[in-house]
């Protein structure tokens, strides 16, 4: 008997088995992983984690900058120099804003500083959960879209709010999985599934609350277009390894969605064909 040598492993593309890339306001992005840049142990680990994630988009923010004459300046410019090394496209946010006025003015500052019309719009309405104030969010989105911004709203999984954000001019929605930084994963898969079904042609990104690669895969298996996360990578024991794990999970989840999953059922269904079963699978008689 001879043992045949196994055929070489088939090579699959690293992302997007459908061949269709993530599209954000007309921009084709070769990765479905958007990664945050905060809370890493060191600048070097941040850069390595971004590389390991293969993310094409990195979120950034704005901070008060002390005067250089104060002797403690430079943090902002050091970060700017660092993040440019990543080669990733930047998505500035309005983190910390609690009113329409704050969010709109922060967005304008970000547009000038980062030279982009993209803005991740956050208007926080509650401190314990960091839940978005969806009323202010819709109003801020309406203003910013009218002013030419391309808005990525951080929102809940509420269908009506989603509809109003789209009417305001948003082409992308970013519902939460669970509260920011909680690592709880998808608190309400039913609502996320409903959102996906209700807006089949809208780009949907789960943003916030993801703690494990399996949770990211779950969201992608629901048909979400991409994942945005930060804390789960930055605060991991090994952020670089975790970034790679998330990248694989997001790719796997998307591939599974495109492949078409079976429907879950309550009762067993034999996977082995019953036709031609041997005698001991007969009528149960001895």
């Amino acid at each position: 008997m001879t043992i045949q040598q196994a055929a070489p492993a088939k090579s699959f593309p690293p992302t997007n088995p459908s061949g269709k890339e993530l599209s954000l306001y007309g921009n084709e992005i070769p990765s479905r992983f958007l990664i945050g840049s905060a809370q890493y142990p060191s600048p070097a680990i941040l850069l390595d984690a971004i590389a390991a994630s293969r993310a094409g988009i990195v979120t950034v923010s704005l901070r008060r900058e002390a005067g250089k004459d104060a002797g403690k300046d430079g943090a902002g410019q050091q970060f700017w120099s660092l993040i440019q090394q990543s080669g990733a496209r930047l998505l500035p946010n309005t983190a910390g804003c609690k009113t329409v006025k704050e969010a709109v003015n922060t967005a304008h500052m970000a547009r000038e500083l980062f030279a982009t019309r993209w803005i991740k719009l956050e208007v926080i309405g509650e401190d314990d959960t960091l839940q978005p104030d969806v009323f202010a969010l819709v109003e801020a989105a309406r203003i910013l879209c009218a002013e030419g911004f391309q808005v990525f709203p951080y929102t809940t999984d509420d269908l009506v709010v989603a509809d109003k954000l789209l009417a305001a001019g948003c082409e992308v929605l970013m519902p939460w999985g669970s509260p920011i930084g909680s690592g709880r994963g998808l608190n309400n898969p039913f609502a996320l599934r409903a959102l996906r079904a209700h807006f089949p042609d809208t780009t949907l990104i789960v943003d916030a609350g993801i703690g494990l690669p399996s949770q990211a895969a779950q969201a992608m298996e629901l048909g979400y277009d991409a994942i945005l996360l930060n804390t789960a990578v930055a605060k991991a024991g090994d952020p670089v390894a975790m970034a790679s794990a998330f990248a694989q999970a997001i790719e796997a989840g998307h591939a599974a969605f495109k492949a078409g999953a079976i429907e879950a059922r309550d009762m067993a269904c034999p996977s082995t064909p019953v036709l031609g079963s041997p005698f001991w699978h007969g009528d149960g008689s001895q």
Binding site: S37, L62, R64, E65, G76, F79, N105, M109
Partner: protein
């Protein structure tokens, strides 16, 4: 004149935002600015007077999620 700069009190003799930014040692295109909660574009700083008690924000890039 006493103003609020990034939430802290500051005595300054500069009369407009562009001069304040320069005096503090910032490169004009490396920061974004607001006065009394309203964005002031880089090109408008020289035409934006500072008044006693006004609140100036000077922001720079930072990490974010």
């Amino acid at each position: 004149m006493k103003i609020q700069l990034n939430g802290a009190s500051l005595d300054t003799e500069e009369n407009d935002l562009a001069r304040l930014v320069a005096t503090l040692g910032h490169e004009a295109d490396k920061v974004a600015t607001a006065v009394d909660g309203l964005f002031v574009a880089r090109t408008a700083r020289a035409q934006t007077p500072l008044r006693e008690g006004c609140a100036v924000e000077i922001l720079a890039p930072m990490e974010g999620g």
